[in-house]
């Protein structure tokens, strides 16, 4: 079995799908970006279908399902954010659904979009910008600056370092989990091509992906909660 060759093919393949040439440079669109477009398109179509023809009285089963999903997601993220950060619950629900759907793309034979470090880095950057913006919005700029030297002046360097460590750990955790699951599944498919991969796929493709989406959103919510208190 050629494990090295398989890993090389999986990890070092050319990620660029569409290549534009500009005057002196170039503009590449990666495969993962196209996959996220697909995820966004599917989610948008499902949402449009679920939210079309809504009524106040005498609601249809479809609307019931839509309301159940929205209530459930808001319950999850609202519970994590607490009373103060209530206004961010819809955003976190959207991130949860997007990351969850991106991780599940492996089920339909595509490479998960979150297996590209660029995608997870973008998501992590978005998170940290939201956290700091929430801090400034709720505390005011002066108090936000002052919060770096809380509770003691000694911890100021650590607090500043956390600005970089937090998005790095968010990004690496998601990327590593997805790439690890994909590599293990590929190795397993090579070793035992039938039946066994199906059982493991339930854990590595479905359960792990959803748990990681939950962890990402949970940690971001935790940071927001800490920033605005």
């Amino acid at each position: 079995m050629d494990i090295g060759g398989l890993l090389k093919e999986l990890l070092l393949e050319d990620k660029v799908l569409i290549h534009f040439d500009f005057m002196n440079g170039f503009f590449d669109i990666n495969k993962s970006i196209v996959v996220t477009w697909g995820v966004i398109a599917v989610l948008t179509l499902v949402l449009l279908w679920l939210t079309s023809n809504m009524k106040v009285h005498n609601i249809s089963n479809k609307q019931l399902v839509a309301e159940f999903i929205v209530d459930g997601l808001r319950g999850i993220t609202g519970g994590m954010l607490g009373e103060e950060g209530y206004m961010y619950r819809d955003f976190m629900a959207v991130v949860l659904v997007f990351i969850g759907a991106s991780n599940l793309v492996g089920l339909v034979g595509q490479v998960p979009a979150t297996m590209d470090l660029n995608v997870t880095a973008g998501l992590a950057l978005m998170s940290i910008v939201l956290v700091e913006a929430a801090g400034i919005h709720h505390k005011g700029f002066g108090k936000w600056l002052k919060s770096f030297s809380q509770p003691m002046a000694v911890v100021t360097p650590m607090n500043i370092l956390e600005l970089a460590i937090r998005p790095l750990s968010l990004c690496m955790r998601l990327f590593g989990n997805v790439i690890g699951a994909t590599v293990i599944m590929e190795l397993l498919k090579m070793a035992v091509p039938v039946i066994v991969p199906a059982a493991f796929s339930v854990y590595f493709d479905i359960f792990d992906g959803l748990i990681q989406a939950y962890v990402f959103v949970f940690l971001t919510s935790l940071y927001i909660k800490e920033a605005i208190e």
């Binding site: 750990s169 690496m172 989990n177 790439i179 939950y214 962890v215």
Partner: protein
């Protein structure tokens, strides 16, 4: 002598930390459920989260070893 494979193997030692962490977390969760069986759901949720966080160290090791082997 090419020692890159050895470096990747050393990075895989992060698995020890994750293993101990998840083991301790699970032991405490079993303890907690034995004491308070009605808090089962909450404990399960926290356990899953703690395991995912503890697992992250092993994942960092994995990412580092992959980088050592393949990133040039």
């Amino acid at each position: 002598m090419d020692l890159t494979a050895l470096g990747a193997a050393i990075a895989a030692f992060t698995g020890i930390g994750a293993g101990i962490g998840i083991g301790v977390a699970t032991a405490k969760a079993v303890d907690a459920v034995a004491r308070q069986p009605e808090a089962d759901g909450k404990i399960m949720k926290l356990l899953l989260l703690g395991c995912a966080l503890a697992e992250a160290t092993a994942i960092y090791g994995f990412v580092v070893s992959i980088m050592i082997l393949f990133a040039k």
